[in-house]
C-alpha cells in the first residue's frame, strides 16, 4: 500500500502530460467562443434585408463583412463561387463600414449578395451574436440557424456548407 503511494506523483504527472499532449494535438481551439445561435431561429433582419428571403423554403447564407477586413477579402471568391455555381442566396451585411467604401469594394471584386445591408453601428450584429468580421451563418429553409462560422470560410468549410445548401428543406 505504501509503495503504491510513491506512484501517485508519477501518476499525476502522467495525467497532466496526457492532458497537455491532448491539448496540443487534438486541434482544439481554446480561443473559440462557440456559438449559441446554432439550432435557434435566425434573429430578425431589417425588413428590407430579410424580406422574402429568409423562411421561404430555401437555405440562405448571411455574411457579415467589411471592406477594411482582410480575411473578408480572402473568403470573397468563395461566395462568388457559391452564388454562380450553386445559386446560393447570400445576404451581405457590411459591419462598421462606410456604405461608399463597401460599394466600391464590391464593385471592384464582384457582388455575390442577393441583398446588401449596412450595420454601421453594430446593432444588427449584436442580435446575431457577432464577435467581428467576417462571420457567416447558414439558415435553413425553416429559418433555423444551422451553421455559424467565426472567421473566414475556407474551401474545407464548403464540405459542411454545400450539403445543407443543396439539401434545401
Amino acid at each position: 500500500m505504501n509503495r503504491l503511494l510513491f506512484v501517485l506523483p508519477l501518476l499525476t504527472l502522467a495525467i497532466l502530460a496526457g492532458f497537455f499532449g491532448w491539448s496540443l494535438l487534438s486541434g482544439r481551439d481554446p480561443a473559440s467562443i462557440g456559438s449559441v445561435m446554432v439550432g435557434r431561429a435566425a434573429p430578425a433582419l431589417p425588413q428590407a434585408l430579410g424580406d422574402g428571403l429568409v423562411k421561404t423554403g430555401k437555405p440562405v447564407l448571411v455574411n457579415f463583412f467589411a471592406s477594411w477586413c482582410a480575411p473578408c477579402l480572402a473568403e470573397h471568391p468563395l461566395f462568388e463561387r457559391l452564388k454562380s455555381r450553386e445559386g446560393a442566396v447570400i445576404i451581405g451585411i457590411a459591419w462598421k463600414d462606410k456604405p461608399e467604401a463597401t460599394r466600391a469594394w464590391l464593385a471592384r471584386l464582384g457582388d455575390p449578395f442577393a441583398r446588401l445591408g449596412f450595420d454601421q453601428h453594430g446593432k444588427i450584429a449584436l442580435d446575431w451574436g457577432l464577435s467581428g468580421v467576417p462571420e457567416t451563418y447558414l439558415i435553413d429553409a425553416q429559418g433555423i440557424v444551422r451553421l455559424h462560422f467565426r472567421g473566414p470560410i475556407t474551401e474545407r468549410d464548403l464540405g459542411t456548407i454545400l450539403p445543407l445548401l443543396r439539401g434545401g428543406s
Binding site: 449559441v36 453601428h121 449584436l126 442580435d127
Partner: protein
C-alpha cells in the same frame, strides 16, 4: 569606419557642474519624496477603463449600474477583459447595448440574460453554477479535500498508537502513597 560620438570636454564639464549645483540646491528632493511620488502615481492610475464619455448615461445611478454590469461581461474578442476594460469595437457596442437596455427599464438580470442569449455563458466573467460547470466550481475544493484527507490519513498512519502503561497494581499504589506521604495530605488542605 565609425565616428564615435564623444561629448566634448566643455559639454562634460558643464554637465557635472550642473549636477553639482543641483545637488547643492537647498530645495532638493528629500529622501521620502520619491516614495510619496510613487504612491501618488499609483493612486492616480487605477485600472484602465475603455468607457468613453460619449457612451455614459446622464443618470449617474444608471451609469453606475451599467458599470457594474459591464465589469461582469466578458469582451468576446479579448478573452480576459471585461467590456468595460476593452477598447474593442464589439465591447463598445456591448456597452452601448447595456445602457440602452437599462434606459429601457431592464433589470440587471435582464441585461445579463440579453447578452447570454446572444453570446452564451461565455460572455459572463463569472460562470453560472450548473451541471456543465460543476467540475469548474467544485474541482478545486474537491482536490483540496482529497489532498487534506490524504494528508490526514497519512499522518494518522505514521504515528504509532502509544501504548498506555498498565494501571498501577495495589502494591504500587501503596508505595506511591508512602512516597508522597504527608505531602499529598498537605496539598489537600493548603489553607490549614
Amino acid at each position: 569606419v565609425t565616428t564615435p560620438v564623444v561629448p566634448s570636454g566643455a559639454q562634460r564639464s558643464r554637465g557635472t557642474s550642473f549636477l553639482r549645483r543641483w545637488q547643492k540646491r537647498p530645495l532638493g528632493f528629500a529622501r521620502g519624496d520619491g516614495v510619496a511620488m510613487l504612491v501618488a502615481l499609483l493612486l492616480a492610475c487605477g485600472p484602465g477603463h475603455a468607457v468613453e464619455p460619449s457612451e455614459m448615461l446622464p443618470d449617474p445611478a444608471l451609469e453606475a449600474r451599467a458599470r457594474e454590469i459591464g465589469r461582469g461581461l466578458r469582451c468576446v474578442v479579448c478573452q480576459n477583459q471585461s467590456i468595460d476594460d476593452s477598447a474593442a469595437e464589439v465591447a463598445h457596442d456591448m456597452r452601448r447595448a447595456v445602457r440602452e437596455r437599462l434606459g429601457a427599464g431592464d433589470s440587471d438580470r435582464q441585461v445579463m440574460d440579453f447578452m447570454v442569449a446572444r453570446y452564451g455563458d461565455y460572455v459572463l466573467l463569472k460562470p453560472p453554477f450548473k451541471p456543465d460547470t460543476w467540475l469548474l466550481w467544485l474541482g478545486g475544493p474537491l482536490v483540496l479535500l482529497l489532498a487534506g484527507g490524504g494528508l490526514l490519513l497519512a499522518a494518522r498512519r505514521r504515528r504509532p498508537v502509544e501504548a498506555m502503561p498498565a494501571p498501577l497494581s495495589d502494591a504500587e499504589r501503596a508505595r506511591v502513597a508512602a512516597l508522597l506521604g504527608d505531602r499529598s495530605r498537605e496539598c489537600q488542605r493548603p489553607s490549614n
